[in-house]
């Protein structure tokens, strides 16, 4: 056993070495790259980000849409999760597979589907113009609205998964006890079920925000050239302008935003657990 521990430790170090070489070193190289301009340490690329109105606007948009989408996703996701959790064990499985199925589908293909749905001549605009004839409909595709719809669709399975899991953990006996004690169904929900499902909500919020803020493909396909996220700016800086340090700096700012927001969410989660 003592000897085995050694083998396990060696195995762990081998994996860690692989990760250091192919994950940590690249990140650190990019990190240093963003702080050097013409061979000297400089914050030039970061000052550019926080002074350029274009960058600031996109930064603000990224955050705004991510928060909005997380909020919308949580409401829809909670409703679906609650609905499923009220079903019989067998039914739950079927519903779950159905609502989680997008997770197993190619994101590129899903977004392509949304492109067709949201386009000028797409199904949604057709329905709108049929409902209010004379108007030409609103161009949904290539707008932040389209991006928001796409992100909700992208994040929803992850949200449902987390909230559903926490709802499943709520002890049925507690709900029955509350009902037996004369609380109404609505009150039981708000006083028993909802507070007990908070951990799932926080987890869902974290993953949803992290996915939204760092998404690259959704704005690329549904936002068009003018409705970008920070990640797209970073890509453009590197691929279109060849400005590696600027792209690196942008992606590091993005990383810090995600880490900070996740820390704030986990701070609130811990506080809610104590309360």
């Amino acid at each position: 056993m003592i000897k085995n521990k050694k083998y396990y430790t060696i195995a762990g170090w081998l994996a860690a070495l692989y990760f250091i070489l192919l994950f940590l070193v690249p990140l650190l190289r990019m990190f240093t790259l963003s702080f050097f301009s013409e061979g000297k340490i400089s914050f030039e690329y970061y000052t550019t980000i926080f002074t350029s109105p274009v960058y600031l606007r996109v930064l603000y948009r990224t955050l705004y849409v991510s928060f909005l989408v997380t909020g919308i996703g949580l409401v829809i996701g909670y409703a679906i999760s609650y609905f499923i959790s009220q079903k019989s064990e067998k039914q739950q499985k079927k519903w779950l597979i159905l609502v989680l199925s997008p997770m197993f589908m190619s994101l590129t293909i899903r977004l392509f589907g949304w492109m067709m749905l949201l386009g000028q001549e797409g199904l949604i605009n057709r329905v709108f113009s049929w409902l209010s004839p004379g108007k030409d409909g609103i161009p949904l595709l290539f707008s932040y609205t389209a991006v928001a719809i796409g992100i909700v669709h992208y994040c929803l399975p992850f949200i449902i998964l987390n909230i559903y899991a926490s709802l499943k953990r709520v002890d049925n006996a507690l709900i029955e006890a509350s009902l037996m004690l004369g609380e109404s169904k609505v009150k039981t929900f708000w006083k028993v079920i909802f507070p007990l499902s908070l951990p799932g909500i926080f987890a869902a919020a974290s993953i949803s925000f992290a996915l939204s803020a760092s998404t690259f493909l959704v704005p690329l396909m549904l936002g068009g050239p003018n409705n970008l996220f920070v990640s797209n700016l970073a890509y453009n800086a590197i691929v279109n302008m060849g400005d590696y340090p600027q792209g690196a700096a942008l992606s590091i700012v993005l990383l810090f935003i995600v880490v900070i927001v996740l820390s704030i969410i986990s701070f609130f989660e811990r506080r809610s657990r104590i309360a």
């Binding site: 195995a11 990760f19 690249p26 970073a234």
Partner: protein, 263 residues
């Protein structure tokens, strides 16, 4: 009889399900539409797209490339995942919590950040754009799915089985082969399947590394849908969607994957 309230709930749910499934439905419809794929409703029925699909060599090349990358990267990821879990759960590593988060890092660090760092890293060896740069990059970003499930498996595994094997005269490697790996296999396979799917569909990191001769499937799909629009892609997408649904149902029937859905 359903109460008014739960009827309402059902209606809302139907909308939600429709919302979730709508991009798939429209793709299937568009695949047999004779007109412009961005035009609704379709004007005629045709199987033209499916006919073209099987003659589109470019597309199938990308499928094959992504498949090869996916398989190799998954094999690497499984190796990383198992060895990492062995070290985290049963080894003597310093600051195990930090190391575990480190292995989960690719799930937290935005993929764009990872993608740029790989580009910077591989370009120092002039290796960006090679198939191996993509494989290595994928192996890192998909490994958390295996590592996580392997850790969970080892944590709840029975230490005694290992002890029993040793008592019966098995050395570490014999025990590893005959006891540890077989006991981890079911969960590692489900992690590997997920990893493979993620690799097959990876766009954000890959796009920084890919070049003309390494256009993976998601990049090809993107090209066909936005840059040089090609309706063949509707047939391809519809096929993938159907295959995914069938695969999902089979996986659920065989592996009960809804139990593993915890990512």
């Amino acid at each position: 009889m359903l109460s008014k309230k739960s009827k309402l709930f059902y209606v809302v749910m139907c909308f939600a399900i429709f919302f979730i499934l709508s991009p798939f439905l429209i793709t299937v419809i568009a695949s047999v539409a004779g007109s412009n794929m961005f035009h609704f409703p379709p004007e005629q029925f045709t199987l033209m797209n499916y006919k073209n699909l099987f003659q589109d060599e470019q597309l199938w090349q990308s499928v094959w490339l992504s498949f090869c990358i996916g398989v190799t990267a998954t094999l690497l990821a499984v190796t990383i995942g198992i060895t990492a879990a062995m070290g985290i759960v049963k080894g003597q590593l310093p600051m195990k919590n930090v190391i575990e988060s480190f292995f989960m890092g690719p799930l937290i660090v935005p993929l764009v950040t990872v993608g740029i760092s790989f580009l910077v890293f591989f370009s120092t060896f002039q290796a960006e754009g090679t198939i191996w740069s993509i494989i290595l990059a994928h192996s890192v970003i998909i490994s958390p799915y295996v590592t996580r499930i392997a850790c969970a498996n080892l944590r709840q595994s029975n230490e005694m089985l290992e002890e029993a094997a040793m008592m019966l005269g098995a050395g570490f490697w014999y025990m590893f082969r005959t006891v540890l790996i077989p006991s981890m296999l079911p969960s590692v396979i489900s992690g590997a399947v997920l990893s493979f799917l993620v690799s097959m569909d990876e766009y954000t990191v890959t796009v920084f590394l890919a070049q003309v001769n390494t256009v993976t499937l998601p990049i090809r799909i993107y090209q066909y849908t936005t840059i040089d629009i090609n309706p063949t892609i509707t047939a391809f997408s519809a096929m993938i969607i159907l295959l995914s649904f069938i695969g999902l149902i089979v996986l659920e029937k065989v592996f009960k994957i809804h139990k593993y859905m915890d990512f």
